[in-house]
Amino acid sequence: MINIDINNYEEYCIDYIEGTMNAEIAIIFNAFLDNHPEIRAQLADFEIVPLLAEPVVYQGKNLLKKGALVNSATFDEQCFEYIEGNMTTAETKAFESSVANNKTNARTLKLWKATRLIPEQITFANKSSLRRRNILPQLLRWSAAAAVVAFGIFMVTNNLSKEDNFSNNIRWDNAAQEISDEQATLERIYQKLGVNPLRKTNEPYMAEATLKNANGSAKTQKTAVAAHANTNQNEVSARTDIEMQPMQPKRVKIKPEVILVSNGLDIRQTNKKNSTNNTNNSDIESIQDQLARRYNELKNTEISVDQSTVYSAIKKVSGNRVSINTNKQGKANRIQIDGGIFAFSIPVNLKK
């Protein structure tokens, strides 16, 4: 049951006035109005006044239409399309010819043409205040450089021996493989030089190249082999640029544990193969034997690296903006970055 009282009657007024109230509610509402004649009088004064649509012209509506310029377009709209360059070639020609025959239209078109703004040169005086220096990329570059430097120093100072052993192994293994592959070639060289590639070790024929540094290892290895041809020093010297020293004659026995295995090359197997062709195997030090011996001599060689060379290279690359701070032991502990308007340092953690 709907209860209509003085507090809620307003929500029913519109329905009552417009006559859209349903019968049941209308009875209740009329009963309410009977009890409140002043409200009934107010409602009687209500008069539904419909809004009248005023004629409003949307200026330029033809411009919203798609496709070719419509015939209904006003002359102003046509002028606009003309000066905006929106007409097709045919439309332009037709429009120009129509305008040419009408002075009023020609005058109107001139006014439309005159609405095009004429650009003028205005200079903004404070351009310099807008310009920027690319600080962040510089910072990132320096940070990246610092990280590279730190990593480089870390590697140099902490992993030197490991790195050297590793690279030595690779170099020597490669050298041994290369020489082994060229065994036949070498033997032909010996033959040409008049030397016996399988000489008895008690004969003072050997010469040994002095290994100066790791970079010369492969070359030195070859030279050591070539040094077997010491009996013809002239020809040999033409192939070497390092100091040759006579080696004391020494008897070397092939030891089974001296095995150079690299890229499938097994000296022991090679020696076994040789032993089938040579009954005096124990008295002979083959080229591979010498290589194996030299490999074992050199594989643990420590190579000193001048850190100052590394530091100077870093400074050269960074334009002296990167410097290395060292501790009392002379080891790098911080990397100093000087970026001009900023500076910072990065600690270097050295493994003991």
């Binding site: 411009l63 919203l64 905006e84 004429i118 690319n134 990329p137």
Partner: protein
């Protein structure tokens, strides 16, 4: 966008943005603020804005700045100033008359017309800058030109 590219845009665009702002707000200090603000925002967003889009971006920032400024100043942004209708002087300088006619337009119409005639932007580009549809841009330009035409028509302007 690198700093070098950004600085090249400063050289190429700062005059244009300043002219656009000056012609829209008619106040040199405000126009300079607009330029500074636009380029500051370009720099901040330089990683997101391709070089070829820098121009429209600057105009858009400038336009938004002007809208905010107008709203703060409680000016009637969308209302044209009614032109004076009686002139005894006969004008021969079309440029001068155009300047006066332009000043009677609302900032929106003025802005659209400047982008169209000074910068040669298409309806779509102007729409992108001012966040309007192409038809809206076209109608706005039409009304701006019609208003200027009416203004010029009230002058005793000698047209060639």
């Amino acid at each position: 966008m690198t700093a070098v590219e950004y600085n090249e845009i400063v050289d190429e665009m700062s005059d244009k943005i300043y002219r656009y702002a000056l012609k829209t707000v008619y106040d040199a200090d405000t126009a300079q603020d607009i330029v500074q603000d636009a380029f500051e925002k370009l720099w901040v967003n330089r990683d997101k804005i391709p070089v070829e889009k820098a121009g429209p971006f600057l105009y858009r920032i400038s336009y938004n700045y002007m809208i905010d400024r107008f709203r703060k100043d409680k000016r009637q942004y969308f209302t044209d100033t009614l032109p004076e209708t009686s002139h005894s002087e006969q004008y021969t300088d079309l440029k001068e008359v155009l300047e006066k006619a332009l000043a009677t337009l609302s900032e929106q119409k003025r802005s659209v017309l400047l982008l169209r005639d000074y910068e040669g932007y298409s309806y779509k580009e102007i729409g992108d800058i001012m966040e309007m549809t192409e038809p809206q841009v076209k109608i706005t330009i039409f009304r701006a030109r019609a208003a200027i035409k009416e203004y010029i028509g009230t002058m005793n302007l000698v047209l060639e």
